[in-house]
């Protein structure tokens, strides 16, 4: 099964890096959508279905916390797991993002293996 992914990050360089690393995970990736902030991501989610969302926290216009709150409030998006990908990985921040509805957390810097492990966990991918 190919997974459609939405990458939300204000840094074009990081979006490009995450996209490249997704290709290195060995997972089958379908459509790869990108947004520069939470509001743009919500617009994309209004017209496209994705299997998983990868989002940064510190972004202009709408940050990751606000974005998570909007996703949680939308019934049609409740089944879409959100994984936070951030440099901000203090224990307090991780707890806060998980309490807002994030299903996973990947700390930058990260390896393709760690991204894959977290994606497989939240997507409940089974082996064998």
């Amino acid at each position: 099964m190919a997974y459609d992914v939405l990458i939300v990050d204000d840094s074009p360089a990081m979006r490009s890096f995450i996209g490249r690393v997704l290709g290195l995970t060995g997972m089958e990736i379908g459509e790869r959508l990108e947004a520069g902030h939470g509001r743009e991501a919500l617009e994309i989610l209004g017209r496209s279905w994705v299997d998983v969302i990868l989002t940064d926290i510190n972004m202009p216009v709408m940050n990751g916390e606000e974005f998570l709150a909007h996703v949680a409030a939308r019934g049609d998006l409740k089944a879409v797991p959100v994984v936070v990908v951030s440099t901000d990985s203090t224990g307090t921040r991780v707890e806060r993002m998980m309490s807002l509805g994030a299903k996973g957390y990947v700390k930058k810097p990260f390896s393709p293996e760690s991204l894959r492990e977290e994606l497989e966990r939240v997507l409940e991918v089974s082996h064998g």
């Binding site: 490009s16 890096f17 440099t87 901000d88 203090t90 307090t92 930058k108």
Partner: protein, 175 residues
């Protein structure tokens, strides 16, 4: 080598500076963070720590970012011009001739962002911070008067060097 001069910080910013006893902890965090970020995300290894004056003559690309929260501070980064395209090519998976200046600057900003987050996560693992957006600046780190008041270090990566300066201030507690 990591150089520190935190005792002078308080004269330029409100609140108390980072306790002198934390200087070694900050130094260790800078080393660990630089090593981890450069190796994991850029596939480059720190060959050695260099002296500040050793690379003073080289041209660098500068970026900086502020943070607030449990403490307030700033991280400043300088990547030597010979290293910057190598970093960007490794990060973006492109050949160096294909890179635009904007792409190189974006990668340098992202390096600053990851280093700052990594250092804070090590120093203050149970605190909340708001990280500002990293920005490229043409400011010359050597010219900053507060330069002597921060933790600073230089990492030689073979292809070039990365200079790092880190400041952190805490509000003074009421007596």
């Amino acid at each position: 080598m990591v150089e520190t001069g935190m005792a002078e910080t308080g004269s330029q910013r409100p609140g108390a500076d980072v306790a002198a006893g934390e200087a070694e902890q900050v130094a260790a965090c800078l080393r660990e963070s630089a090593g981890e970020v450069l190796e994991t995300m850029f596939f480059l290894t720190v060959e050695r720590e260099a002296g500040w004056e050793e690379v003073a003559h080289k041209e660098h690309l500068y970026a900086e970012m502020d943070f607030q929260g449990a403490a307030e501070g700033r991280l400043e980064l300088a990547v030597s011009r010979d290293l910057a395209p190598v970093l960007a090519a490794g990060f973006l998976g492109k050949d160096e001739p294909e890179l635009t200046e904007r792409e190189i600057e974006g990668v340098v900003c992202e390096l600053a962002n990851m280093l700052c987050g990594s250092v804070l996560s090590r120093l203050e693992s149970h605190s909340l911070f708001q990280l500002g957006a990293p920005q490229v600046t043409q400011s010359d780190l050597e010219g900053y008067s507060r330069m002597d008041a921060g933790h600073r270090c230089v990492f030689d990566l073979g292809h070039g060097d990365v200079k790092l300066c880190f400041w952190m201030w805490r509000e003074a507690k009421a007596a």
